[in-house]
């Protein structure tokens, strides 16, 4: 089965600053995949490229086997996305915003109603469903954004720092929701700084540093790769690998990534 997300040699720069340097990544169906890395590593850029909010300079991104450059709109129906800093239309109520989110994703009207009822119940927003978004706290806004990303029951949920600003109860609900979704074969792709959460929640993680994927796999793979021992936490693994990456010259890293790219390409062609 082909991966739900594939990134092959993706490059992106902002005003001459290289954000992604030939990033390669594969996310499998039915897993919770975590993207971790220090500030400025390129996590948000990666997510934004996948959901079509940014254009890459070069490379290939496939979602559900579809090249997003060749077909830049329809694939988005599979995705529910929540950015890191959530901004919502303050002038709408929660219910109106969820209706809007459903309509623009072409969800049938009868389904919109049902799903709104379920989502406001799930995120404990029932009392506030007719309140204007301007009156909500940051955590509530985050919940509304996640509810809007789920309104079309997407196969792939992409969330940038989903736990920030959400209370412990909300975080618990979210983690349960992620686990339920992967049981039904759907995929959750998160970017996070919370390494302990990523360790407990994610089936696999990718560590990116300076726009490159320096390690990918489950915790065991990463422990072996970093030679930190089988009791090492994800935080210890992360620190070790990013320290090593700092010492590695960028040119050498490029060469490795190029080898990775050709090996992936060879696998695909054969």
């Amino acid at each position: 089965m082909s991966p739900i997300i594939e990134l092959i040699d993706v490059w992106k720069s902002y005003n001459g600053v290289q954000a992604l340097r030939g990033l390669n990544l594969e996310v499998h169906r039915g897993e919770i995949f975590g993207l971790i890395g220090p500030n400025g590593a390129g996590k948000t850029t990666t997510l934004k490229i996948i959901v079509g909010l940014l254009k890459m300079d070069r490379g290939i991104v496939r979602v559900n086997g579809v090249d997003i450059c060749e077909e830049p709109y329809e694939y988005k129906r599979l995705i529910g996305y929540v950015p890191e800093s959530v901004s919502l239309p303050d002038y709408l109520t929660i219910e109106e915003f969820l209706i809007y989110s459903g309509k623009i994703r072409r969800v049938p009207d009868d389904q919109i109603k049902k799903r709104i009822n379920n989502l406001v119940r799930l995120f404990e927003l029932e009392e506030k469903r007719r309140a204007l978004i301007v009156s909500l706290s940051r955590g509530m806004r985050q919940k509304v954004a996640i509810a809007s990303a789920l309104i079309h029951d997407p196969d792939l949920l992409i969330l940038d720092e989903p736990f920030i600003g959400i209370d412990p109860m909300g975080q618990h609900i979210l983690k349960d929701l992620f686990n339920e979704r992967i049981k039904s074969g759907k995929t959750v792709f998160i970017s996070t700084h919370m390494l302990d959460t990523a360790e407990r929640l994610c089936n696999r993680v990718a560590i990116i540093y300076k726009g490159q994927n320096i390690a990918l796999g489950d915790l065991k793979n990463l422990q072996q790769l970093s030679k930190t021992g089988e009791n090492a936490t994800l935080e210890e693994v992360f620190l070790k690998l990013t320290e090593e990456a700092k010492e590695q010259p960028i040119e050498e890293a490029f060469e490795e990534r190029r080898r990775d790219f050709f090996s992936i390409l060879r696998r695909r062609l054969l």
Binding site: K48, P83, D90, L92, R105, I112, S148
Partner: protein, 523 residues
């Protein structure tokens, strides 16, 4: 007072004010457009004044009276600002007031920074000054003296505003409010002489505004300096400086009031959104009769309803109605006085041109508010795979509807009151809305891209207004011809059809451009 600290705060304040200006290369070009845009009007105005002075037909007493009234209004404006107490921006409270900086250092830097910021917008005044000085062949001595008097008056205004703001912030008692109101009344009272027969006149009172007016008029019309007036101005400047020195010693930092950052160069959506949030809290009740539900039959209608809700709840609709109510009142007053004096074209002329010119501002306001409200929310439709072309069409249609319907109702009422045929004014307003909204939205969308998003909206707005005005020129020429040639109804109908076709073509052209640009936006 440490000069290096003052300089550091000054630099910080100036950089903050002009911050966003540096964020986009397009700002430089747009600033040039802004400066050049003023040249023809100011040059014409300056030459007219200089010619009037040269011909000697100027009534000096009336000039002094009028100028003194204008300068008094400036002083009143400074006092009104002082009524709020001393206001600072959030970043000043966080970064400056938590540092070992003395109040006087902060105040001196603030006055210098305010002066620097004002200079950018005051370029028409300097242009006016330069053209008049050269046209009248004034000596360097007189030119310098005039400039010194202007600077003295400007610093006086700053000292007045700053000192009274600090006193107000520190004491917050009723007596300070009473004192400020008394000063405002005293300053404005002689201006009542313009409307009713009053023995009080600025020229009879020892006001600083009167001294300043006398200095300027004497230099310009008589090529001489009135020493008594100059000493009179200095006699106000010195006590105000002393008051500033006294108040600036007090620690007013804990008594300051926080206000959202205001700068025409500020493209920070965060601060503008804060302002918009306040608007939503106030106006959301107005829009509560409209709700976004699943009843709309087509997707376009649904999106248009969503935009109407935004426009209503954020207060834009209220602002449009208020603006047109004010202008209708003015037009009605002008029309009434014109009909008393002459017959025929003037009332139609005023009706058309006041409303026509005014309606150029409405698309700009609607589009700018949309940018503030929805730029940060664009990720929602962009990440959803929705057809962005339908979304921008819905926005544009709503803008055209709002900016056409409100003035059209006003025109119909006014035309009934004034017995004027409403066809041409209606066509002109609708065309102005169609062209204005299309151009404004196109230019705004162009500037939504990551690289040019930092461009200040007032510069984008200025460019949009210029382009709209250029495209509307043929329409206005046709309407003027129609009025001057007193064309009949049949000819006017033909003209209206031509204007409508022209506007529709322009809209079609820009809709295509907007549709192409919107899908390329990166957020």
């Amino acid at each position: 007072m440490r000069a290096d600290t003052v300089l550091s705060i000054y630099k910080f304040k100036v950089k903050t004010f002009f911050g966003a200006f540096r964020a986009s290369k397009a700002s430089v070009v747009l600033l040039l457009v802004y400066i050049i845009g003023f040249l023809p009007g100011i040059s014409g105005f300056s030459i007219t004044i200089a010619d009037a002075i040269k011909q000697g037909g100027v009534d000096l007493e009336v000039c002094v009276e009028t100028l003194a009234a204008l300068l008094s209004v400036l002083m009143v404006f400074a006092l009104i600002l002082a009524l709020r107490g001393y206001t600072v921006f959030e970043h000043e409270q966080i970064f400056i007031f938590t540092s070992p900086i003395r109040p006087r250092e902060f105040l001196v830097a603030s006055i210098l920074a305010d002066l620097t910021s004002s200079l950018v917008f005051a370029h028409p005044i300097f242009l006016l000054y330069a053209i008049i000085v050269f046209s009248l062949n004034l000596s360097a001595y007189l030119a310098l003296l005039m400039l010194s008097a202007i600077l003295l008056f400007i610093f006086m205004l700053f000292f007045l505003k700053t000192s009274f703001s600090i006193i107000k912030a520190l004491y917050r008692d009723l007596w300070i409010n009473a004192l400020i109101y008394i000063l405002i009344i005293l300053l404005l009272l002689p201006a009542a002489g313009f409307f009713i027969d009053l023995p009080l006149k600025y020229s009879l009172l020892p006001y600083p505004s009167k001294f300043m007016a006398e200095i300027l008029i004497d230099i310009l019309c008589n090529c001489s300096v009135n020493l008594i007036s100059f000493l009179g101005l200095v006699s106000y400047f010195l006590p105000l400086t002393a008051l500033f020195i006294l108040t600036s010693e007090r620690n007013f930092f804990p008594a300051t009031t926080y206000v959202p950052f205001v700068s025409p160069f500020d493209a920070s959506i965060r601060t503008q959104t804060l302002k918009m949030e306040r608007g939503i809290k106030i106006f959301s009740r107005m829009g509560s009769f409209l709700t976004l539900n699943l009843e709309s039959k087509s997707f376009l209608r649904f999106l248009m309803k969503k935009e109407i809700i935004r426009i209503t709840r954020e207060g834009s609709l209220f602002a449009v109605i208020l603006m047109y109510l004010i202008i209708s009142f003015i037009v009605a007053a002008i029309g009434a006085s014109a009909s008393q004096n002459t017959q025929g074209p003037p009332s139609t002329f005023f009706l058309i041109f006041f409303l026509g010119t005014y309606s150029l501002i409405v698309p700009l306001m609607l589009v700018s508010n949309w940018r503030v409200s929805d730029l940060e929310n664009l990720w929602v439709p962009l990440a959803s795979g929705a057809d962005m072309r339908i979304i921008v069409r819905a926005i544009l249609y709503d803008f055209v509807l709002i900016s056409s319907i409100v003035p059209s109702i006003m025109i119909l009422i006014l035309s009934i009151i004034q017995n004027v045929n409403p066809i041409l004014p209606l066509i002109l307003i609708i065309s102005t809305s169609i062209v204005g909204c299309s151009v404004n939205l196109h230019i705004m969308v162009k500037f939504l891209g990551k690289k040019s998003r930092g461009t200040p909206s007032f510069l984008i707005g200025w460019a949009s207004m210029l382009l709209s005005a250029l495209l509307l020129t043929p329409i206005y020429i046709l309407v003027v011809l129609s009025i001057l040639l007193r064309l009949g109804d049949a000819a006017n109908m033909l003209l209206s059809t031509l204007i409508s076709i022209y506007s529709a073509l322009i809209m079609k052209y820009f809709v295509r451009k907007i549709e192409k640009s919107i899908v390329k936006i990166e957020v």
